[in-house]
């Protein structure tokens, strides 16, 4: 075997989450009252467009969660030795992007380093900006750079449009077949927006994504599209690798939150009395401690634990991963209170409803009442909370990393990118691309998540209808 599959803790949980999502989707398909709101989400152009963008992020995140270690080429066949570097399928797909490192900073699409060095030119030692090792290395002369970029962009756009057209064709063929209409009729429906789902938005967003992707691929083959960082690492690569971190924090934290919030919130509202008192006490205590400080304290403790037990982690990736997991756990433990409070209030209302009284009149057990009457009727709130919290958590990661209690400094994350870059802000001329890249990536993910969350909330919460 040339590869040793590595399953990090967060990888395992991400796939557990994926499986849970699949089971949930299957369950939702069978429940009319859950399927109907999702169908209404699918009819909102804004939500569907956002969902496609989110989908791209999710696919990248999932590919980046399939980890392995390469076998060292010189290890004996009987006793294979594996590299300490943990790679992912996504790394393999990116290929050279990871390995093509420059010496230090270089601007986006540049062919020269950002710092002057003594270089040999025509036999003379001059102090100038040296050529990059990889970025624009195929160009003979700096004047060729702009035409080359233009050519690549053009090719990317054309390829992207072609891919978009193919995607359009596939969508058209699939949907026309599904509804048993002629392709021409489908196209007419598409043009007039009468298909009952936002096909126009979907096609346009697909095409845009394809164009963007193809252009990036074209450019990345010859340049560092977003420049390089202090140690010469490609910023596009870092930004893409940070996606997984953002997604893991946004989703796994919620996974930790849910059982606490649902269990305690519903129990407090349903049983009231001393159960309610105890749960309220716990959440007032947790709530009263400033969140950042609690997270900071816990992360420091984890840090101490990791440093005093180095033998438990065979790679740097495993160590960083455990800290990421710990961060998710801690953020989950500190952030369940909001949802729990909401669910408690809702349960207090539900328990006085006649259908709950009717069940009690039959002597139905508490567990069954909670499972059949209470939980299904607060489930939409849980769902809304999941999607609404996601973007907040992604943003929080950046702040925590800045404070120094976020993810491991060796981990790729937008927070670490910002943290590293802001120290260079004072530099003249300014190194802006790292910051901008991190903010743009983060903004795209969060905006897509927010727009999608809006769609979900509108569809599931009838009170919110039409007021966004």
């Amino acid at each position: 075997m040339t590869y040793l599959p590595v399953v990090l803790w967060t990888d395992a949980l991400v796939f557990v989450l994926l499986a849970a999502g699949a089971v949930l989707a299957w369950a939702i398909r069978r429940q009319e009252h859950l399927r109907a709101p999702w169908r209404s989400v699918a009819q909102r152009p804004m939500a569907m467009g956002a969902a496609l963008v989110l989908g791209v992020f999710v696919v990248i995140g999932l590919l980046d969660s399939l980890h392995y270690r390469e076998r060292l080429p010189d290890s004996a066949p009987g006793n294979p030795q594996y590299s300490v570097e943990v790679l992912s399928v996504f790394d393999a797909l990116l290929g050279a992007l990871r390995t093509q490192k420059e010496k230090t900073y270089s601007a986006p699409l540049a062919m020269q380093l950002y710092a002057k060095e003594f270089i040999e030119r025509d036999g003379e030692r001059v102090r100038d900006y040296p050529r990059l090792q990889y970025g624009g290395a195929h160009l003979a002369h700096p004047d060729e750079r702009l035409p080359d970029i233009a050519r690549r962009v053009l090719r990317g756009v054309v390829e992207g449009l072609a891919a978009g057209l193919i995607a359009f064709g596939l969508v058209a063929a699939w949907d026309a077949r599904r509804r048993r209409v002629a392709l021409a009729a489908w196209l007419a429906g598409w043009r007039h927006g009468t298909l009952g789902w936002p096909a126009r938005t979907v096609v346009v967003v697909l095409a845009l994504l394809a164009v963007l992707g193809a252009t990036l691929v074209q450019l990345a083959a010859g340049y560092h599209v977003l420049g390089t960082d202090k140690v010469g690492q490609d910023v596009l690569y870092i930004s893409l690798k940070s996606i997984r971190t953002g997604l893991v924090i946004g989703t796994l934290t919620t996974l930790v939150t849910l059982p606490l919030a649902i269990g305690l919130g519903i129990a407090a509202g349903y049983f009231r009395g001393w159960v309610d008192d105890v749960i309220q006490y716990v959440y007032t205590v947790l709530n009263s401690i400033p969140g950042v400080l609690l997270i900071a304290a816990a992360v420091l403790i984890v840090q101490v634990y990791i440093e005093s037990n180095p033998e438990l982690f065979d790679t740097a990736a495993a160590r960083a991963d455990i800290r990421l997991l710990a961060l998710c756990l801690i953020m989950g433990v500190t952030s369940w209170t909001g949802l729990a409070r909401l669910l408690r209030g809702e349960t207090l209302k539900l328990r006085t409803l006649d259908y709950v009284e009717a069940a009690r009149a039959f002597g139905v057990s508490h567990a069954r009442i909670l499972g059949r009457h209470i939980f299904p009727n607060v489930f939409h709130l849980v769902l809304i909370a999941i999607v609404l919290d996601f973007s907040g958590l992604v943003l929080a990661e950046a702040v925590l990393s800045y404070v120094g209690v976020g993810v491991d400094p060796s981990m790729y994350s937008w927070g670490n990118m910002i943290n590293g870059a802001r120290l260079e802000l004072a530099r003249e001329p300014i190194v802006w691309w790292q910051l901008v890249a991190a903010f743009v990536f983060m903004f795209t993910l969060v905006l897509a998540a927010n727009l999608f969350a809006d769609g979900v909330r509108d569809a599931f919460d009838p009170r919110q209808q039409g007021r966004r």
Binding site: P290, I301, I430, N450, R467
Partner: protein, 325 residues
């Protein structure tokens, strides 16, 4: 009313004890003073002697809960718990790793923190409410839709971006205000304007959107229809009837954070070099100064509970239906 407030104050005691026990567990049980010492000393200097010396210097050379070597009450008092955790109930926080008295630091740093946080809070509230009312007044028009989209975009931008962009454009590029720093007295204003501006702008997205939802919920209620049926102009309906009801959740939601303004904002103060409690906290976290972190946790919890009590009281002020019992 008095009995109610007294009861709430008494309820604060178990909460604070809970907070105290939790921090004690986190900082001394899960994470022993030996661990702290090792972390502080750095891997290179860890020797048993160095650890002991560090513990003695910081007063951590005692048993956690029960000192069997001491006599009488000292068995309980001459312990880490009593000296470092229980003492906080008397607001005695001890000294930080830099040797300075934490209580004094807190008192001197509250001022600058408030100088930033209070204007952000007040101006932010006014701006958000005005923006929300504007959207509601023009509800279901393009202005409203555009406003909502703007809000979503604004709230999708990281708070760090607002700070960095503000510093870069306003301070560095256009040289309108200093990038960071602070001054005493009236001269502080020019250091305050930029952080306040950034703080207000970064809060508009979520704030205005939330308030808009509150106002829209009120607008759907029957009494609004009654007010219109009286022949009142839409502006009066909105600014008198709807605003009055909508302000109940808004004000009480705001009151809970009011005491916490003393704590300042971690990120803003750190970026702008404001010598407030926020930057104090962040420095302590980065320097792993547990004594300061512990003190800030307790202070934060205390202020939060004050906020909760103020919220209850403010409810009974703004909402005639609420009688405290």
């Amino acid at each position: 009313m008095h009995a109610y407030i007294l009861r709430r104050l008494l309820y604060a005691i178990p909460i604070l004890i809970g907070v105290n026990l939790l921090t004690f567990t986190l900082f001394f049980v899960v994470n022993t003073p030996d661990d702290m010492a090792r972390l502080q000393l750095g891997a290179k200097h860890v020797t048993p002697e160095a650890i002991e010396r560090w513990k003695t210097e910081h007063g951590y050379d005692r048993p956690l809960l029960l000192n069997r070597d001491a006599a009488g009450m000292a068995q309980l008092t001459d312990t880490i718990f009593f000296r470092h955790s229980a003492a906080m109930f008397a607001f005695e926080f001890g000294k930080g790793d830099d040797g300075r008295d934490i209580g004094t630091e807190i008192r001197t740093r509250m001022g600058p923190s408030l100088a930033i946080a209070l204007p952000v809070f007040v101006i932010g509230l006014l701006v958000n409410i005005s923006f929300a009312l504007l959207m509601v007044f023009f509800r279901a028009s393009y202005l409203d839709v555009g406003g909502v989209v703007l809000c979503v975009v604004l709230m999708s931008i990281s708070g760090l971006f607002y700070i960095i962009a503000g510093q870069y454009f306003i301070a560095k590029l256009w040289n309108l205000l200093p990038i960071s720093g602070f001054a005493d007295g009236i001269a502080a204003w020019k250091f305050i304007v930029l952080p306040v501006l950034v703080g207000v702008v970064s809060g508009i997205g979520s704030g205005a959107r939330w308030y808009r939802t509150i106002f829209l919920e009120e607008i759907g209620k029957d009494y609004v229809r009654t007010a219109r049926a009286k022949g009142l102009p839409e502006a009066r309906v909105l600014f008198h009837h709807v605003l009055k009801n909508g302000m109940i959740p808004i004000l009480t939601g705001a009151v809970v954070v009011l005491p916490l303004l003393f704590m300042g904002s971690l990120i803003t103060e750190s970026f702008f070099g404001i010598p407030g409690l926020g930057s104090y906290t962040i420095d302590a976290i980065q320097a792993q100064d547990f004594a300061v972190v512990r003190a800030m946790v307790f202070l934060g919890a205390f202020l939060y509970i004050v906020g909760l009590i103020l919220t209850d009281i403010s409810y009974s002020w703004v909402d005639p239906r609420v009688r405290l019992q």
